[in-house]
């Protein structure tokens, strides 16, 4: 299935400036599957989002609808074609 993922301006150059990309994910996909697909199609964007162990980076938030994935099941959260997925970094530091 194809899913649309919104990309933040801070990472848009990794997908040619696009603010939304379409990701081909398997049926019954999880958010982890979606991020793995992004890493395949856009390797540098993928590693900006997750470390080499596949964990979401600390300052990267991924919303499914109105819920940040950590409040759901994290990378194991199921996603469907109608779920709006949005990546939003929460930049921190003084």
């Amino acid at each position: 299935m194809d899913l649309e993922v919104k990309i933040p301006a801070a990472l848009a150059s990794e997908c040619g400036g696009a603010r939304t990309i379409t990701v081909a994910a398997p049926e019954a996909a999880t958010l982890g599957d979606v991020l793995a697909a992004i890493e395949t199609s856009h390797p540098r964007l993928g590693r900006r989002l997750r470390d080499e162990a596949g964990q979401l980076r600390r300052f990267v938030n991924v919303y499914i609808g109105d819920d940040e994935c950590r409040r759901l099941k994290g990378l194991a959260t199921p996603v469907g074609p109608d779920d709006p997925i949005q990546i939003l970094p929460s930049i921190a530091g003084g």
Binding site: A10, P43, R47, A53, P89
Partner: protein, 380 residues
Amino acid sequence: MAYLVLIGTRKGLFTATSPDRRTWQLSGPVILDDDGFTAVAEIYAIGTDPATGRILVGAATWFGPSVWRSDDAAATWSEPQKAPMAFPQDLPYRPLDFSETAGIDQPESDQTNTVKRIWQIAFGPGDRVWAGVEPTSLWTSDDGGQTFTFNRALWDHPEHTTWASGAGGPAVHTIVPDPADPRALTVAISSGGIYQTADDGRTWNGITKGITVDYEPDAAPESGQCIHKVTRDADGTLYVQSHGPAYRSTRPDGGWINISENLPTDFGFAIVAHPTEAGTVMAWPISESMERTPAEKHIGPWRSDDAGQTWRPWQAGLPTEAYFGGVLRDGACTDGATEPGWYFGTRCGDVWAASETDGTWHTVAAHLPDVLCVRAMETA
């Protein structure tokens, strides 16, 4: 001939150029990536290759660590698509504490080995590049810094159980190639010790015995010492600034000689050898370890021309009022010229340069963010 200084700070990379090492033109923060977030990246590691002019920068960003490369004197930068270094996922997890978390990406999982920061980048012969990384590990690249291979032999060294974390994190922070032998290398770990290989990293020999500590019951352990920096002079003598005294040795397996006796304090981080004159070395003493400010509140290095037997301050041109910003372990360097320029930057964000022929320190930059590392090179 012109000169380029690269300044890695807590918030971004800065560059400065000069035709004469007296007057400097500052630029920055340099945007390494295409989106701009590296303007505030922590720049712990800068490597320069005098043979090719190549520059590699290790940056810790909100979106993880990476390595950027320039082949045109810092005018343009590129970054590999895939992560330049990644721990093998079948590597058993080794918990290592790290206490400074300001602003950089940190993993959410505490059960996996992941690259946190790149602390050191050093060029070897050919396309060989070495990188020292947090958590404590050494990496090798043979494609000019595009991809790095994890050195398992050092990671598995039996003494690793004596390694711990300094305030900045557990890391291989110093890499000293041997210009006469591409298979030989010296690395230093804080805290952990000094290790040498003579076979291109296949086996490692701890050479820290004889360096004393005052923070453990055993004042003279075999390993585990907090080594702040190691430098090598033109004859191959190693100089060490440890958490305690500074030392030198011509045969580290034969012991170390304390060279702090004539320094104002025995504590400090940066120590840099002259690139062509054996026995000339500079140190930046810091007041006793509870204070961590420049010795006697005077900013500037102390210089020895007799391998650390005698020292004298070199402060011409530097501020004379009390100064509270120390020089971190990679905050000082030379430009490698035959008549070298010396450079250092402080935690107050000031950077100075002086040449052997001039003898006076000149301002390269002022009021930058906290300076983490400084590297300089001649350019055409």
